[in-house]
Amino acid sequence: MLEVKSLAFTHEGQNQICFPDISLCNNEGLIVLGNSGSGKTTLINLIAGLIKADSGDITFNQTKYNELSFDDLDIFRGKNIGLIFQKPHFIRNLTVLENLSLSTHLSRNKVRKEIFEETLSEVGLSEKINMRPNELSEGEQQRLSIAMALVKEPTLILADEPTSSLDDNNCNKVISLLKKYSEKKGCKLVIVTHDSRIKDLFKKRISL
């Protein structure tokens, strides 16, 4: 269960942004729509525990963010939350497999090669396991970043514009991957987007 109540955040030198309340059960997905600058990414960062709100509460599976320090939030995020960025980033000197291994290790999850291989085959990257990320195409990179988020088996996935730089074909692949995973594992999904192709993906929708 993810609950967000009367959340507000101020960027330096800007007006305060107030966010609508959110309540999300397992298996549920939420689409967050809004123009650029409306605070979509800020919302993702708040829920991810990367920044702290001015006021309001975020509760996720009985854990209240307000009661955690930044270090605890780092650990909490590492264990429970899968993050997907608009533009995928990887460690360029590491292979696909090593990237998965490093992120899993740093998020204090068990490093298991079978899981990596299984996840990579799910996103269709089995063949690229020993390649460097910059040798992959853009669509493959975005699928890899999904694999990176999925290997630690999160219960919440936060995706920031995951499809905006992808063509229709890759866009469909990414979306069906995310949906399939959240149904299989009972995982909550929050997708921030202004991509009209996916705005009707879930029933729950908020606009900022």
Binding site: L50, G78, L94
Partner: protein, 392 residues
């Protein structure tokens, strides 16, 4: 995969970025390490060549020259001294032994030394085969002489006059090899020993009938330290000879040598500092390229300390690999120099194993690695992971 492995991979898989720093570091290290190896070998060599000699009596002139010629056999002697005169001096209860040394000839640049049978004892030399000379014109040769000239027991050869190879050949008398010494790692390995009488015989044309018998110098060992205090002074003020003290002259030589070595070391230190600057620039530039990576590592769950550790380790690894490379280069260079370019018999026995003083270089490289990373580590600390990733 963890932070430690990542720092290693970042160093190894980025050869273009790290090689220049590593090579600079290795050059500086190689020069200092080479200086250390040479000076340590030189010191050992000097000390083992001293054997048990406390004092050398020779003709007046530079004391350093007396030591160089009579003990290290690398310079020309200052002149000759009268055997009967010097015998009066060494007939003293404070003197334990006195070994005469005469030379003037060589065979293929190896000096032929006329002396007494106590001479090998100074270097605790053992016979490998054959025997010590017993008759005129019989010689016993050092191990390097045997190895390089291929002289065997029973072989005969002519000596050539002087200490260089271009002197005229004494072809009226030939020497015969009767024995070969074991390797002693001292100057003895490069000498051809015979009795004093043989040297006189070969030069009999040059010596007038009624002239006093001359030798080059006398190697003296004292019974007690009191001899060291009294006798040299007595000789220097009362006779036409001079007494040179090897230990004192060696210290003077090391001081002179030390000046050159420290100048070279300063240059090498500068190279190491430059390598530190290069490591710094390297990390600093790569930080700009890797801002996203570092932010990503933070978002994965690493804390700021781990991020700082990553950069610090990369810096230390580069200087460490450079140091290892430097040690390898210094040894390889010495091997090449010794085998190809230098025909200096005295450096044959240089040791290539790790010497204690080299630990200073390792520490130095370590410190340079730390200093080079201070600013980049601070930069990494200041990276705002969120801003970096979301403003992409």
């Amino acid at each position: 995969m963890n932070i430690n492995k990542l720092s290693l991979i970042n160093v190894i898989r980025n050869p273009v970025d790290t090689t220049v720093s590593m090579i600079l570091m290795s050059l500086g290290v190689a020069i200092i390490s080479m200086m250390l190896l040479i000076s340590s070998a030189t010191k050992n060599q000097l000390e083992s060549n001293l054997g048990g000699v406390d004092m050398v009596i020779g003709a007046k002139g530079s004391p350093i020259q007396v030591i160089l010629s009579s003990i290290f056999h690398i310079d020309n002697p200052t002149g000759n001294i009268s055997l009967s005169e010097v015998k009066k001096i060494v007939d003293d209860p404070l003197i334990q032994s006195a070994v005469p040394v005469s030379f003037g000839d060589n065979y293929k640049n190896y000096r032929i030394v006329g002396t007494s049978k106590e001479f090998p004892d100074i270097y605790s030399a053992q016979l490998k085969s054959g025997k010590i000379w017993s008759q005129n014109l019989e010689v016993t040769i050092g191990s390097s002489v045997a190895q390089k000239t291929k002289l065997k027991i029973g072989d005969k050869f002519y000596g050539s006059h002087g200490l260089g190879s271009d002197g005229h050949i004494h072809n009226n008398y030939d020497y015969v090899v009767v024995g070969i010494f074991e390797q002693s790692n001292s100057v003895l390995d490069n000498l051809i020993l015979t009795d004093t009488q043989s040297v006189w015989m070969i030069h009999s044309n040059d010596i007038l009938e009624n002239q006093d018998k001359m030798i080059t110098s006398m190697l003296v060992k004292f019974k007690s330290p009191i001899g060291l205090i009294q006798i040299p002074r007595k000789i220097n003020s009362n006779t036409t000879f001079q007494a040179a003290l090897p230990s004192m002259e060696i210290n003077r030589m090391i001081d002179l040598l030390g000046f050159g070595i420290s100048t070279i070391n300063i240059i090498a230190l500068l190279i190491i500092v430059v390598s530190g600057v290069s490591i710094f620039l390297n990390l600093y530039n790569s930080l700009r390229k890797r801002r996203f990576e570092l932010a990503l590592i933070r978002v994965y769950g690493a804390n700021k300390l781990q991020l700082m550790k990553l950069i610090l380790q990369e810096s230390i690894l580069i200087s460490f690999f450079g140091t290892l490379l430097g040690f390898a280069i210094s040894r390889l260079t010495l091997v090449v120099i010794l085998n190809v370019f230098v025909d200096n018999h005295n450096l044959d026995t240089i040791s290539l194993s790790f010497i204690d003083s080299e630990i200073v270089i390792v520490m130095l490289a370590f410190i340079v690695g730390i200093f080079a990373s201070i600013i980049p580590v601070y930069k990494a600390y200041k990276i705002d992971a969120i801003k970096t990733l979301t403003n992409a």
